[in-house]
């Protein structure tokens, strides 16, 4: 196993789990993502006990649904984020999150490797774009994604008028959109 976990290709690891039910790969994936999923849940307002339980549920779902992971459509972090988000809505807001119909691919078809590589590059670019956002913009995006805040709730928390919030999120997203242009195109 690669010692430097930060440079691991997690989509590749997840594909191993998908295709070979590879338990060692799952252990590595767990080591990397479980603490992040739990941090995400804690920051969303879950108690320590609830965050631990939900994290375990999320990681169990990752194993169970690995056959649905398509590395040409989503990075591992993207896919795991959607599972964690759904669990968060279920546990913290007591609602269901209706899911788009899964795009299934036949048992023999493998994702197009060119698409996989392009998606991987775009995801790295997106990470860099996020990391270089001005503090204020990044803060708002974080609040939107982690604290389960609507635009108007953000306004209440910060005391800023709604129009300002909307345009700041807009501005942040416009900057992100540059990095996401490739992701935006229909496949």
């Amino acid at each position: 196993m690669t010692p430097d976990v930060t440079t691991r290709d997690w989509s590749q690891v997840l594909s191993q789990i998908r295709s070979h039910r590879d338990q060692a790969a799952f252990a590595d994936l767990f080591t990397h993502f479980a603490p992040r999923v739990k941090a995400f849940l804690l920051r969303s307002g879950a108690s320590e006990t609830l965050a631990e339980e939900c994290m375990q549920e999320v990681m169990a779902t990752v194993w169970q649904k690995a056959h649905l992971f398509d590395p040409s459509r989503a990075a591992a972090s993207t896919w795991i984020f959607t599972i964690a988000r759904n669990r968060k809505i279920d546990a913290l807001r007591k609602q269901r999150q209706p899911q788009p119909e899964d795009l299934t691919w036949g048992p023999e078809t493998e994702p197009d490797q060119t698409d996989v590589v392009i998606l991987q590059q775009e995801t790295e670019e997106l990470g860099r774009a996020l990391a270089t956002l001005p503090e204020k913009q990044r803060d708002l995006i974080e609040r939107a994604y982690f604290h389960d805040l609507s635009h108007s709730q953000i306004a209440e928390e910060t005391g800023l008028p709604l129009g300002t919030i909307k345009s700041r999120i807009r501005l942040a997203l416009d900057r992100l959109r540059h990095a996401m242009r490739q992701l935006d195109r229909p496949k």
């Binding site: 972090s77 988000r85 788009p100």
Partner: protein, 216 residues
């Protein structure tokens, strides 16, 4: 997938769905449109990728002492997920909607609300509501303005109003400023999935009656 969709979801709706802040009723319409629309699926994928990047970058929490073993135990308790059935391309309703209805169009428990219009309210969290509407071809919906947001997805037939023509897969995003009078196109009944986050206000006496029966 359909390629002739011309009315799509807005950026705020896609971002809110991705961040998980929409009421369940609106999420159902978003998920249903995305099921039919490759373009919005890709746009949603971009917002989910933002969420994924934030997840990568949001710090780490210390886990319970036996977190990994306990997770394996949870896995052992679960059945292997069955391979999902191939998407029912011939269905009128996309999968997330079939989930709420308990089947396709023929499984809907319609309730007549007058003028040939039928509706079925679907069970969701109380912060907004979502219903299926069936409007006879050529018939007009009652004139109404909105106090909140309304999101309407066409599943069969078509309607037109001040904003244009909406056919299968098209979604209309209306806010309190739009006072519209949708008319169903001639032919098959127009079947829509409509989410509202506030009671609609109808103008005129008949529509007021309809409002009571429609429970909008």
């Amino acid at each position: 997938m359909t390629t002739d969709i011309s009315h799509h979801l807005t950026e705020p709706l896609l971002m809110a769905y991705s961040a998980g802040t929409l009421p369940e009723a609106f999420s159902l319409v978003v998920a249903s449109h995305v099921s039919l629309c490759d373009e919005c699926r890709a746009r949603l994928g971009a917002y989910d990728a933002v969420g994924g990047a934030m997840l990568e970058d949001c710090g780490v929490a210390s886990l319970g002492a036996n977190a990994y073993a306990e997770t394996l135990a949870r896995i052992a308790e679960r059945p292997e997920a069955p391979v999902p059935p191939p998407s029912a391309d011939l269905a009128t309703f996309p999968a997330p909607l079939r989930d709420y209805v308990g089947g396709d169009l023929d499984a809907v428990q319609w309730r007549a609300v007058g003028g040939g219009v039928k509706q079925a309210i679907l069970p969701t969290s109380a912060d907004a509501s979502v219903r299926l509407l069936s409007i006879p071809g050529g018939a007009a919906m009652p004139d109404h303005g909105h106090r909140g947001a309304e999101l309407t997805l066409v599943l069969q037939g078509a309607f037109h109003d001040e904003d244009g023509t909406f056919a299968r897969g098209d979604v209309e995003v209306a806010d309190e400023h739009l006072n519209h009078r949708p008319v169903a196109a001639r032919g098959v009944p127009c079947i829509c999935l409509a989410a509202t986050d506030a009671p609609l206000r109808f103008s005129g006496l008949m529509p007021r009656l309809a409002q009571r029966f429609l429970r909008i």
